[in-house]
């Protein structure tokens, strides 16, 4: 046997092995995609069966449904937004725009929807603040490299996990029965959730810090608070701020949804308006909500870029 055939034998064996490996991998990929497709079809069928109206029955009527959205008079959208009396007002709730004005000073008023939007944004801001204030100390306790006691660390970590996973709507419902239905119950619910969500992100940041500054402070005899304050905090604060801004974006959205289930703010008005089929009001509300969320997102993205540079962040909840 010559060396050339030996060589080609080895090559052929290698090529065969490679082919076997890729075909096996292709088989597994195909199997995975196939299973995913089966699951998708099954869940689609399930969702359609369980729904009040079925997809293919309702599909031809999608456009009918959109037709109520188109107002007879497009100017009504602006009138609804700024609480200006409409000539179409026949005493029904559909066009009673000036009714909800919030008078501040003499004849100066804030339009109702702006006031509601302000409530929603304030709920988001206050609850994010609550989340931040509690999450920062918790995150130092829960970080493996900074914790003062491993037992405490475990307790705080589990507690934050519970806060994160607990459905906000239940906390909101519980506190609605205690502090009355409205924005305060929503603040408590979203605030508690934010503690868990921010706390997790924060302690993961803490666990990735450069420990040399901490060791330096330990060498000169600094206590735990001093070490955290002067070695850890300066390193992590920009990232903390960045995640907090991201949380504000998420909380504005959650606060809108909370409004729709009784948490006050714009969500409630939107739900009523859509369920009663008020075209002009719905368009005004959607426009306001869209612009606000867009502005909050853009502002927060700009501030985050200034804080931590062009670092990309995953969306997180």
């Amino acid at each position: 046997m010559t060396s050339a055939t030996l060589h080609s034998d080895a090559t052929r064996q290698q090529a065969d092995a490679w082919r076997r490996q890729t075909s096996l991998r292709r088989f597994y990929t195909g199997l995975g995609v196939g299973l995913l497709l089966v699951a998708m079809c099954a869940t689609m069928w399930f969702a359609d069966e369980a729904n009040a109206g079925h997809f293919f029955d309702r599909l031809p009527h999608i456009l009918d449904f959109l037709s109520w959205l188109v107002p007879k008079d497009w100017n009504d959208v602006w009138r609804a937004l700024f609480d200006i009396a409409s000539p179409n007002d026949k005493g029904t709730q559909e066009f009673n725009f000036p009714l909800g004005r919030v008078y501040i000073w003499g004849g100066f008023y804030i339009p109702e929807y702006f006031e509601l939007m302000l409530t929603t944004v304030n709920v988001a801001l206050v609850s994010t603040f609550i989340g931040f204030v509690f999450a920062v100390p918790f995150s130092f306790i829960a970080a493996r490299n900074l914790t003062p006691s491993p037992v405490l660390r475990l307790i705080v970590k589990r507690f934050m996990e519970l806060l994160r996973a607990f459905p906000e709507i239940v906390i909101a419902g519980l506190f609605a029965a205690i502090v009355s239905i409205g924005p305060v119950a929503a603040i408590i619910a979203i605030g508690l959730h934010s503690i868990g969500a921010l706390g997790k992100l924060f302690y993961e940041i803490n666990e990735n810090i450069d420990m040399r500054a901490e060791e330096g402070l330990r060498a000169v005899g600094a206590n735990w608070f001093e070490r955290v304050r002067f070695a850890d905090l300066p390193q992590v604060l920009p990232n903390f701020m960045s995640y907090t801004l991201l949380r504000i974006e998420i909380n504005v959205r959650i606060s809108t949804i909370m409004g729709a289930v009784g948490g006050g703010g714009i969500g409630e008005e939107l739900k009523l308006s859509i369920s009663r089929g008020f075209g002009a009001k719905t368009l005004a509300l959607v426009l306001l909500l869209f612009v606000t969320i867009f502005l909050v997102d853009q502002f927060s993205a700009w501030l985050r870029r200034k804080l931590v540079g062009e670092q990309a962040f995953l969306m997180s909840a």
Binding site: M40, P167, I178, M258, I274, V286, F290, I293, A317
Partner: protein, 455 residues
């Protein structure tokens, strides 16, 4: 170490001006930020009229509600103005149609004794007098004078009203006595009738009895095996509605799964056209990016409300809402991932003369697919939580059921049952998604290390 002299200090200052002489706004911005936050909080205090809300809130309800999560109570009532004293239970009480609890005792002398906490807290009564025992004290009540009168000293756990005497016994319950009736509330730890409700033929039987009935008992309902009957009774338990709860839970899971998956499928091709470095046209990239922003900014709530009106309430509306929001979110994250890829593999494939599609397949896809999957899993996980909330506006799933159970303020045990199930689902899905993402990041890590090793 020797102390630093003044001249040395100024020398250090001179050498590092950027540390010691910073502009005023840089030195004071933390202070300004804190002052601004304090001002904002004062404004928020006024805006939400927080002092008033807190003053008018009922914090005493909190321990009561929380105790109702894990307990239930029974409220027998004894009419004293009837010829014969008999206990009456509210309709649909947890004891079923023929209640005969062992803690209500008819004594040989015609009096009744209700054991509220063993023999330590009891009430014994007939038509003319009642004796309440608790905390080691005995309180005799006379019922003959037209209104109930405590004969003797009144301890602080007993409140005397004009026509009623209320003895509060803490968690275990309370006794209310008037001249013509005695009302007892006795609280039990646990969930009543969790397996079989009061209409079931298996109600009130011990686990052993039920098992032996299922294994070898006579058919309780002719034509149906006992096993099928038991399963049917559990599934359709009127009080706990296991069947409905589990179906709704499945709907929530399906909503998150379907919405995220469809969103990913639609966002995947669009992201290639939106990524600045891959798109054939800059205009198309801008249009698509604004489209993603639009889908994200029209909130999930708005989509949910629209689709609930279009398709009627149910998981289809919820899936569609998550689907539309995810097109935006995943489209944005996918295109950002594509913009961050290493261009070298792409150039390599391009140099072999491959066409556009093949370049994407072999030059781009291997690099981004793990990132795509990881981000999709992250969104799936977060949507599993989000689907609970949007359910409450009518978009299907457990959210609406939770909200309805809470509205009455009386069904907290059911709420807790559903919360536990939701927590379990979130926990399981978090772990699945974490596990998959860890494996993916290991793949990514290996890939990067291989590349680094090869230079």
């Amino acid at each position: 170490m020797a102390a630093i002299t003044a001249s040395e200090l100024s020398a250090i200052e001179g050498r590092h001006p950027q540390i010691f002489q910073r502009p005023a706004y840089k030195r004071f911005w933390p202070l300004l930020l804190i002052a601004g936050t304090v001002l904002y909080l004062a404004y928020a205090l006024w805006f939400f009229s927080l002092p008033q809300v807190l003053r008018e809130s009922h914090w005493e309800r909190l321990p009561l509600f929380l105790s109702q999560w894990i307990s239930y109570d029974l409220q027998p009532e004894f009419r004293l103005d009837q010829p014969e004293i008999t206990p009456k239970y509210p309709r649909f009480s947890a004891l079923g149609e023929h209640p005969d609890p062992d803690w209500v005792i008819k004594n040989p002398d015609g009096t009744f004794t209700v054991l509220i906490d063993g023999r330590d807290k009891t009430v014994t009564f007939d038509k003319i007098r009642a004796t309440i025992v608790a905390n080691g004290q005995t309180v005799p009540v006379s019922l003959t004078g037209g209104k109930p009168v405590v004969t003797g000293p009144v301890p602080d756990w007993v409140t005397v009203h004009d026509d009623e005497i209320v003895a509060k016994m803490g968690f275990v319950g309370e006794v209310r006595v008037t001249v013509d009736r005695v009302k007892v509330r006795k609280r039990f730890l646990g969930w009543a009738n969790f397996v079989f409700d009061t209409r079931s033929p298996f109600f009130g039987k011990s686990a052993g009895e039920v098992i032996s009935l299922i294994a070898s008992g006579p058919e309780l309902k002719p034509g149906t095996s006992n096993l099928a009957l038991a399963a049917d009774n559990i599934w359709n338990n009127a009080q706990w509605q296991h069947g409905d709860v589990w179906t709704k839970l499945l709907q929530t899971i399906v909503m998150a799964f379907l919405g995220t998956l469809l969103g990913g499928i639609v966002a995947f091709p669009l992201a290639f056209f939106a990524a600045r470095n891959i798109t054939p046209s800059g205009l198309l990239s801008q249009v698509l990016k604004r489209f993603f922003d639009f889908m994200r900014s029209v909130d999930m709530l708005i989509w949910a409300l629209f689709f609930t009106r279009a398709f009627g309430p149910g998981p289809l509306a919820g899936s569609a809402a998550i689907f539309f929001t995810e097109i935006g979110t995943l489209g944005k994250t996918y295109s950002e991932a594509l913009e961050n890829i290493d261009d070298k593999p792409r150039e390599g494939v391009l140099s072999t003369g491959a066409n556009g599609l093949l370049v994407q397949r072999y030059g781009v896809l291997p690099e981004v697919v793990p990132v795509f999957i990881s981000q999709t899993l992250y969104q799936w996980e977060s949507n599993t939580r989000g689907a609970t909330i949007i359910g409450a506006v009518g978009a299907g799933g457990i959210g609406l059921k939770l909200w309805e159970a809470m509205r009455t303020n009386s069904n907290w045990a059911n709420v807790f049952y559903m919360v536990l199930l939701t927590l379990l689902v979130v926990f399981i899905f978090d772990n699945i998604s974490n596990f998959l993402r860890r494996r993916l990041s290991r793949t990514l890590h290996d890939y990067n290390r291989l590349q680094a090793a090869q230079g």
